[in-house]
């Protein structure tokens, strides 16, 4: 695949560096950007932490309550009647985690922007749109392959792309 061992080493060490970066990011993110599940497991440590919760399904079928489920299936009950607009939709919001006091159950306070609006938004029928997005993305990837093949096509021994004109 490669012309010499030195090149092979460079390729492998680049991948190792990339892989190491991924482990570092995951380790740092546990402290800086914990998930709701992590906050619930260690409420004292993560008290006051600001969380960005994305595209969570809203369920209003539970006896008039508005219930949201996060990515890990954690149940978030909206206090009060909730907003009927949310029903059957997906919602994203930014909230502060409050949970270390012990007497009340852990809760989330939705943050507000400068104009006083909640930092939240509806994501509509998220999964359906996502499927559509993947369909379009597949088409784009196919076009990328086509354009790549047109540029390098005639000699593609796997892994080595050569200058037009032949080996």
């Amino acid at each position: 695949m490669f012309s010499d061992r030195f090149l092979y080493g460079k390729f492998l060490s680049t991948l190792v560096l990339l892989w190491g970066s991924c482990f570092y990011a995951r380790w740092r993110a546990e402290e800086l950007y914990p998930s709701l599940g992590q906050c619930l497991r260690e409420p004292v440590r993560h008290e006051g932490r600001v969380l960005g919760l994305r595209a969570m399904p809203v369920d209003t079928s539970e006896s008039g309550k508005t219930v949201i489920y996060d990515r890990d299936g954690i149940r978030i009950e909206v206090l009060g009647a909730g907003d009927p607009e949310w029903a059957g939709q997906y919602v994203s919001f930014v909230a502060r985690f409050v949970g270390a006091h012990g007497e009340e159950p852990a809760h989330l306070e939705i943050l507000r922007d400068k104009e006083g609006r909640p930092r939240a938004r509806l994501e509509g029928d998220f999964p359906k749109r996502r499927r559509w997005m993947y369909g379009v993305s597949l088409l784009v990837a196919a076009m990328g392959v086509l354009l790549f093949a047109r540029a390098f096509a005639w000699n593609l021994p796997w892994g080595i792309f050569r200058k037009r004109g032949g080996p």
Binding site: L122, R150, I160, F161
Partner: protein
């Protein structure tokens, strides 16, 4: 809670990134460089989503690949797959594509939480807040249509420009 932002548009997808890279690649005469620029624009999401869905990794595990640091490393690794005379061009083109991808993603509005881990290993997230993260799918058919048309008419267009 009624007056929150209404986004409701699907995620910045490959079509938007491809169209942006296509636009940036128009002045580049080399077909090979252009093809690699397009792939550079697709690679951040392909690598990131690949880790996420194929390897079932956490979101944060894949984030470095979606940063400048990841861009340099991925471009370098990909450039090594090419023979020597093409390597520099490959590196620059793929990295160029990566940059168009990151620029488009940084422009998103992620409710003030930041959209891209731009300067990894710094863990700060960046966003410009210009458009909701899912707007681009509405534009995808137009973007792809424009790309198809440009690809179809491109030789004629450039011949005309040369003559004029």
């Amino acid at each position: 809670m009624g007056d929150f932002q209404e986004a409701g548009r699907p995620i910045a997808d490959l079509a938007a990134h491809f169209a942006a890279a296509y636009l940036c690649g128009l002045p580049i005469p080399s077909r090979q460089a252009r093809a690699l620029l397009y792939w550079g624009a697709l690679l951040p999401d392909l690598c990131f989503k690949g880790l996420l869905f194929v390897f079932q990794s956490s979101i944060w595990f894949g984030e470095p690949i979606h940063s400048l640091w990841g861009g340099v490393l991925v471009s370098y690794a990909c450039a090594l797959l090419f023979e020597r005379p093409l390597r520099r061009m490959a590196f620059a083109s793929i990295l160029g594509g990566y940059l168009t991808h990151l620029a488009l993603d940084v422009a998103k509005d992620n409710l003030g939480m930041g959209a891209v881990l731009l300067f990894f290993p710094s863990m700060k997230l960046y966003e410009c807040g210009l458009y909701p993260p899912e707007t681009s799918l509405d534009w995808a058919p137009f973007a792809l249509g424009a790309v198809f048309l440009m690809e179809w008419f491109r030789p004629t267009l450039f011949e005309r420009l040369k003559k004029s």
